[in-house]
Symmetry: C2
Subunit: 494 residues, 2 copies
């Protein structure tokens, strides 16, 4: 028996066990590579990967250390007596190998794979292998099987609500934070919209970051359900809501290794929405030469796949294909985007019109899920909710319930990018603008980002400000400045 | 500036940096996932993956901890001042993505990938992605490009030796430790055979484990070269020889995740042999229904691929296709195999004949690389080297130079598996026998394994011992016993 110790290291995804090189019980001389073990003593065995320690302050020879992730899974206090056994690689890895070899897997295979991932029996490399294998070839019925497997047993139940709505955009278009405006409008109308949001994997800021500027998003299931029941909407960090645990593990590896594919994204999205108890979902597929989905054929292919899977699992899905060629709103970066959202909700004159119109259009389509509304009325009702201030009131109440925050300071280091010639703005390189925002610190610091002063079609004179960069620290600021100075501004003036 | 600290944890493959959650310099609040950093202060930047620590005994807020792997790469003493920067994923991952999408990569792509892997810029998941992508489809010229890239800049130089030989078997046939006998014969004849051996990835014991029972294999390049110069052969753990570093990193991930493919094995083998300075290589491809290579068509495909690549890189390769359907020798497990090897070298009457004959056949083919020998003479010369005791003498001298070890005790827990009917042994399930040996502890403990008393074709009476199991601990012994008791012995008597 070894004595359990918590080694407070967060490893982002893998369960790590630390054993002393002179371990008093297990002979570890011949461990030369990643070794999978099972720790016994708690309610159920916990899987972990062994690392060897040569320092008594970390673990003593009579102890087994577990990192924060693994320790919390044992449910045991420090000092508990535990035993460990070596364990072979997860059985379902045989199915992953068949997938690598180009075979079609069965529903049972996907179930076994997802179960093993949930139980932390896959190393991150195992998960990456699975993702690459699934990424290179997968049939629609496999996407369905994967979705069913990912959905898991735990799901949220909204009682006798007949319509539980949500909106999801398949791409991260810089500045596109219409989700919050939509939630406010739908809540004001009275339909529930329980929104669970991922932290962004990559690039720009996501809905979670923007909401985080305005209120706390780390709320538990109980609070989440209570706010939705009372206020009709809430925006929660999905990490704190205990559903689709395997999907979270997979998503982390996907983001860390840029292994996202459309098929996996669809399975992940639909499984999560099912588990959140959504009945009616509006999906937005932006198409643009610099977006993830580049052609309308691709978008159509995706639409058919989503429709097939959602019909089979019994989720009502409406799909809209939109223009993803330009940033939406003016601000890119959490605080700047939150400012835009609040401007729209407060009916401010300088609120970005594209953001408002897109939000109204989408909210309108969601409202029409309600049989009580006539076709075509949705947009008008959405507009009424916004104009009357009801959407703003609803949103303020949600913010208060979630824990409203003080306004975030914008980055103190700023730089204006100005037009070097007069003319009309012909194009904005959306992905470059997104990257410049990231370099400025967006995603890392809420106050960092870009504020656009002009959009495509605007006429500008020499010296007019195209956009302003905000950075929170000297490093980011120097870095983004050097990119700008190399002549890449992202704006084409003709 | 942070203060460098060595955190003595071995993580088997990845460079890990440990930073305190309240780090005095870098704000780490918003780190939610695997983050790649570069550590500056040494001769060249060292890449690592960040983990967050909440314990001052591991690292203080003003320190940056590095695991054993990363710390040794900095070349800096503890207490050095270092800085760190966030770093994006390795650039060559774009090529891996193209490979995942089914494209053919260029020589430059492979070079870039291997360089980034050498520099520890790939996470294990990145490497797994690369392996799965390459595993699903690769052209012969890509195998060549990968081989060239893996070979690297460092290689061993054997001065004006015209023929530098080696033998390699493409599969792990239980008990097949002819490598050591071949080395003894070739050395006795006077041709150099500098043998660098991997630790086995998986299953059974490898050549390295068997040699390790007899002598020390952890020798450095200088000692290795010296022994080969003086004694014509040496058997070294390749981990201690600084060649093909990227290949070692890849092989570790491959073994840990069972992602080996024939194409990658060929690239790895030929790159390593080139870097070891081998000029003439004999490759053994065992074929059998329970072996890795199941049909002679597969073996032929492999042969052509090996010939193509080795011709292009200028390595003289002779290929022999052998029977991989039965274990070779009697012992399976490091100490038992070492005993068989020594019996053959000592010309003992009870030396396993199959082991001796296979070794003589292979040694004969290698000897015929020497233009001084007439075709057909090799086998006879090999036999002469063995019979005369010259091979034994050579081997004894090599063992002494490498550091001869005391004999290893066989496992104290034994069990005899006896024939339950009289008849002729029709078949031995080689892979099952290999697995039983592993369950008994072979691979983990030198003294554990299986000793075969009979082979295919032997007539046995009821109660005759088929094989004896040796285990070194009660756990393994109980486990292997339960498998045997379930009726799986691996022997078919008809």
């Amino acid at each position: 028996m070894l004595v359990l110790k918590h080694v407070p290291i967060r490893s982002f995804g893998e369960n790590i066990a630390y054993i002393h090189k002179d371990c008093s019980i297990y002979k570890i001389d011949n461990i030369k590579a990643l070794t999978r073990i099972e720790i016994h003593g708690g309610h159920q065995p916990v899987f972990a990967f062994l690392q060897i320690v040569d320092n008594n302050k970390i673990v003593r020879p009579d102890e087994l250390g577990l990192n924060t992730e693994a320790f919390s899974q044992t449910g045991l206090p420090e000092g508990s007596k535990i035993t460990l056994t070596l364990t072979p690689p997860a059985q379902s890895l045989a199915a992953v190998k068949r997938k690598i070899a180009g075979n079609i897997l069965s529903a049972k295979d996907y179930e076994a794979i997802i179960n093993d991932i949930s139980a932390h029996r896959y190393s991150n490399s195992d998960i990456a292998s699975f993702l690459v294998a699934v990424g290179s070839f997968v049939t629609p019925s496999e996407v369905l099987d994967l979705t069913e497997a990912l959905r898991g047993d735990q799901s949220l139940d909204w009682g006798n609500e007949e319509i539980v709505t949500d909106y999801h955009c398949m791409d991260e278009i810089p500045g596109n934070k219409i989700d919050l405006i939509i939630a406010a409008i739908i809540a004001a109308y009275g339909l529930p919209m329980p929104k669970t949001v991922n932290s962004t994997g990559s690039s720009c800021t996501g809905v979670l970051d923007t909401m985080n500027v305005l209120a706390n998003t780390d709320i538990d299931i109980r609070t989440f359900k209570k706010i939705v029941a009372e206020k009709r909407a809430a925006i929660a960090n999905i990490d704190k809501i205990e559903i689709c645990e395997a999907d979270k593990i997979i998503t982390a590896v996907e983001n860390q290794n840029s292994l996202t594919t459309q098929e996996r994204s669809i399975a992940s999205l639909l499984a999560t929405k099912m588990a959140t108890g959504i009945s009616h979902l509006l999906i937005d597929i932006p198409v643009g030469s610099r977006a993830k989905i580049k052609t309308s054929q691709e978008a159509m292919h995706l639409r058919k796949l989503i429709e097939y899977v959602s019909d089979m699992i019994g989720l009502n899905v409406d799909i809209t294909i939109t223009d993803g060629s330009e940033p939406i709103g003016n601000g890119i970066g959490a605080a700047l985007e939150a400012r835009d959202v609040m401007k729209v909700l407060k009916n401010k004159e300088d609120a970005p019109d594209d953001l408002k119109e897109k939000a109204l259009f989408m909210a309108g389509r969601i409202l029409e899920f309600d049989p009580k509304l006539r076709g075509g009325q949705g947009y008008l009702v959405a507009k009424e909710m916004l104009k009357s201030g009801k959407a703003f009131d609803s949103f303020e109440q949600i913010l208060k319930k979630q824990g409203k925050k003080e306004p975030t300071q914008l980055g103190h280091l700023t730089r204006d990018i100005v037009a070097d010639k007069a003319g009309k703005i012909a194009r904005i390189n959306t992905s470059l603008i997104g990257r410049i925002a990231v370099l400025a610190g967006a995603g890392q610091y809420a106050g960092a980002g870009i504020d656009l002063f002009h959009k495509v079609g605007d006429n500008v004179a020499v010296g007019d400000i195209l956009y302003r960069i905000y950075s929170c620290n000297q490093n980011d600021f120097a870095f983004v400045s050097s990119v700008i100075e190399s002549g890449k501004t992202g704006f084409d003036i003709e």
